[in-house]
């Protein structure tokens, strides 16, 4: 295991998350089974105090996980300079079998915890505290991917082997790759791009109709197709190279770190869209602020990412 300071920082914070996560788990367990908003027993009194503790802990974990995700990617990027063959974070992440799953888990957890916080705010701003029990039952469920992520991260860093040669993103994200990535290439890139814009159209429709379910579904689809179309099509225009299709190299200095902005827009937009929809369903009230913010971010992402092929075409007169 190579113990760079960055890895130590990530592991230390993981230890803290584990510790507090367990405390929150115990609190959630008690509330899930014994919560009775109408009771005036000492137990209920204690539970209501402990529900604050649970909320504080989860807020703390989420607040940190956001920048830590970016930091994790940055750490992998930095490690690529000492792991043979890796030229960006993609190589490092894929040098371990479950590396990609770890990254996806991290993203999933960010979304799950974000949703939890939205639910929490809806709960706390209502006198009847309608969602308290639901909140903590959900936390019991969400804590599983949280602990899984921590375990995966620890074993990820322990399995990193600087002497093992890994593939670089050029081979990973290509039709010739032997991972499931190659399946994406079976489909014509125009279909993926079409699906991408189509799902954005669905978002606009959902916004116009103010249909919450459609909003959730369309945002989820938008997220998926955005990432796929980014890998298959758009990234080649960012790098101006038809064979370079890496979603991680965007985060490097050479491309002005544009990846951070793009991903921020995409994740924020889809999160607010899905979260707003779920919140609206639960509270039976539309959440116009969420919808507006989500639309704004998604549009920003769309415009920025579409600009690359457009500008390239205008400057060069041809497509890649």
């Amino acid at each position: 295991m190579s113990l760079t300071p960055e890895i130590i920082a990530l592991l230390t914070l993981d230890a803290i998350f584990c510790f507090f996560g367990l405390i929150a788990w115990v609190v959630a367990f008690r509330i899930a089974f014994h919560w009775n908003a109408k009771a005036t027993t000492p137990l209920q009194y204690t539970l209501s105090k402990q529900s604050y503790l649970g909320a504080i802990i989860i807020k703390y974990i989420f607040m940190l996980k956001l920048p830590l995700f970016a930091f994790f990617i940055y750490t992998c990027d930095k490690l690529s300079s000492i792991i043979a063959g890796a030229m960006c974070a993609a190589g490092v992440v894929n040098s371990v079998d479950f590396g990609l799953y770890l990254t996806l888990f991290k993203l999933l957890n960010l979304y799950l915890f974000g949703f939890w916080l939205l639910l929490h705010y809806a709960d706390v701003n209502d006198e009847k505290l309608p969602f308290t029990r639901l909140k903590f039952v959900l936390f019991l469920l969400f804590s599983l991917p949280l602990f899984a992520e921590i375990a995966l991260e620890v074993s990820f860093f322990s399995s990193l082997n600087i002497s093992k040669i890994v593939s670089c993103c050029g081979t990973l994200f290509s039709a010739a790759s032997d991972s499931y990535m190659s399946l994406l290439f079976v489909v014509d890139e125009r279909i993926w791009v079409g699906l991408f814009y189509g799902s954005f159209g669905m978002i606009l429709l959902a916004y116009g109709l103010k249909n919450r379910l459609l909003l959730i579904v369309s945002n989820a689809l938008f997220l998926i197709f955005a990432i796929i179309s980014l890998i298959i099509f758009f990234s080649t225009y960012v790098y101006e190279l038809p064979t370079h299709r890496c979603p991680f190299c965007l985060l490097q200095k050479d491309y002005y770190y544009v990846g951070y902005a793009l991903y921020a827009f995409l994740f924020a937009g889809t999160f607010l869209g899905m979260g707003g929809g779920v919140l609206a369903l639960l509270s039976q009230r539309t959440q116009p602020r969420f919808m507006r913010a989500s639309l704004a971010f998604n549009t920003l992402y769309l415009l920025n990412i579409s600009a690359y092929p457009l500008v390239y075409f205008l400057r060069n007169g041809v497509c890649l």
């Binding site: 190579s2 113990l3 760079t4 300071p5 130590i8 604050y52 802990i57 000492i82």
Partner: protein
């Protein structure tokens, strides 16, 4: 829901910190000290890495050594000529060098043999051959030494010559023709340069052999391929490239930083416990205050927020102070004491200036290792404080 800062609460938090000045100052001081240590160590590591990376560029692209029975052995010079056949190699230089142990001072000198007519493989040596007349050196069988060597010899009563003892017990008197100063202090302070013939004599080496061979290639990107070709032709030769050295240095530094950090985290953990304890123990006055606040309309949430602001301000303040002090300590004072952690202590290792290297990622790393951890330590005590019953306190 969007994070919206309550400045009045912030102000209240600051005043609250000042009201319990001695307790908070103690915590602030220790936190600052810990972060300062951490920051200094990381900065020194980074600075030395930078210095080494620039040194690295002056090292040979490929160094070839011969191994027999797992031990390094001399290389026949004939191989050097044979290697020129390989495409892509622009020059091949056999080197004669080694370490000479000077018992009275307990130090090793690096001894390098130079031929006046050869193309030198390192820019330092090129400078030297231009500054000093190597032919004269060869004729007079004398040597040029680095400043550190001169000093050591002077301390041992050798002023303008030195007696080497050869492996067969003979004395070899070599006058000192000059002293060189070099910018690349790390490299040259313990260096002695003399004609190759002398080097052979001092080390008792055969004149048809060399210590190792240095190879220069035309296209840097082809280094790996050329190494393959060389080792295919001479399986008993091992190649060390610039990249190999870079990676191994990076690993040593990361290892040393990591090692230090692991030890550091033990003391940080102890500190964590102390903080937890200190912030948990609320004085009766503090309890009364919380009771009053709740009675006049503050909710538990408001109190937790206020406590969070307190922790954040304290830890952020400590963080900023420590970073500034660390910058001053490392770059202005050149980090006395701590730099030996990485440099190793050796009489001849000279003082060299730690080059300034500052990057945002290090600040973020230090931030992550300090502020969130401090806040974690105060999380539960803050909650405990906020769940105090106003009623009981008021009685």
């Amino acid at each position: 829901m969007i994070f919206n800062m309550n400045f009045l609460l912030l102000d209240y938090a600051i005043r609250s910190l000042m009201r319990r000045f001695s307790k908070n100052f103690f915590i602030f001081l220790i936190l600052s000290l810990l972060i300062f240590l951490l920051a200094s160590v990381l900065m020194i590591a980074d600075a030395i890495k930078l210095e080494l990376n620039s040194t690295l560029k002056t090292l040979p692209q490929i160094t070839l050594q011969r191994f027999i029975a797992g031990k390094q052995s001399d290389v026949p010079i004939a191989r050097a000529e044979a290697l020129l056949d390989i495409e892509g190699i622009s020059s091949v230089t056999p080197r004669v060098w080694g370490y000479y142990y000077f018992k009275p001072a307990g130090v090793n000198f690096s001894v390098v043999g130079i031929d006046a007519y050869e193309e030198q493989y390192s820019s330092t040596l090129t400078h030297l051959t231009q500054r000093f007349d190597m032919k004269l050196l060869a004729n007079k069988e004398s040597m040029i030494v680095g400043e550190g060597v001169k000093k050591i010899l002077a301390e041992n009563y050798y002023t303008d010559f030195f007696n080497f003892i050869t492996p067969d017990g003979q004395w070899k008197r070599v006058p000192i023709a000059g002293v060189f100063h070099s910018d690349l202090a790390l490299e040259s302070n313990d260096l002695i340069i003399l004609p190759k013939k002398l080097a052979y004599a001092i080390f008792g080496m055969e004149e048809s052999k060399a210590t190792d061979i240095v190879v220069k290639v035309a296209n840097v990107k082809e280094i790996a391929t050329i190494v393959q070709k060389i080792t295919a032709r001479y399986p008993d030769m091992r190649a060390i490239t610039q990249d190999d050295i870079r990676v191994s240095y990076q690993n040593i530094f990361d290892y040393k930083s990591g090692f230090f950090l692991s030890l550091f985290s033990v003391s940080a953990f102890a500190f964590f416990i102390i903080i937890y304890d200190k912030t948990s123990g609320l004085s009766s006055e503090e309890k009364r205050e919380i009771g009053i606040l709740k009675a006049i309309g503050w909710s538990s949430d408001d109190i937790v927020k206020e406590k969070f602001y307190e922790s954040f301000i304290l830890s952020l303040g400590a963080f900023l102070l420590s970073i500034s002090c660390a910058l001053f300590y490392v770059y202005a004072l050149q980090a006395p004491l701590l730099r030996n952690l990485f440099m190793g202590y050796s009489e001849l290792k000279p003082t060299f200036l730690l080059p300034f290297s500052f990057n945002l990622s290090m600040v973020i790393l230090l931030f992550l290792l300090s502020v969130p951890i401090y806040i974690a330590a105060t999380l539960i005590p803050s909650w405990r404080a906020s769940s105090l019953d106003a009623d009981e306190v008021m009685r």
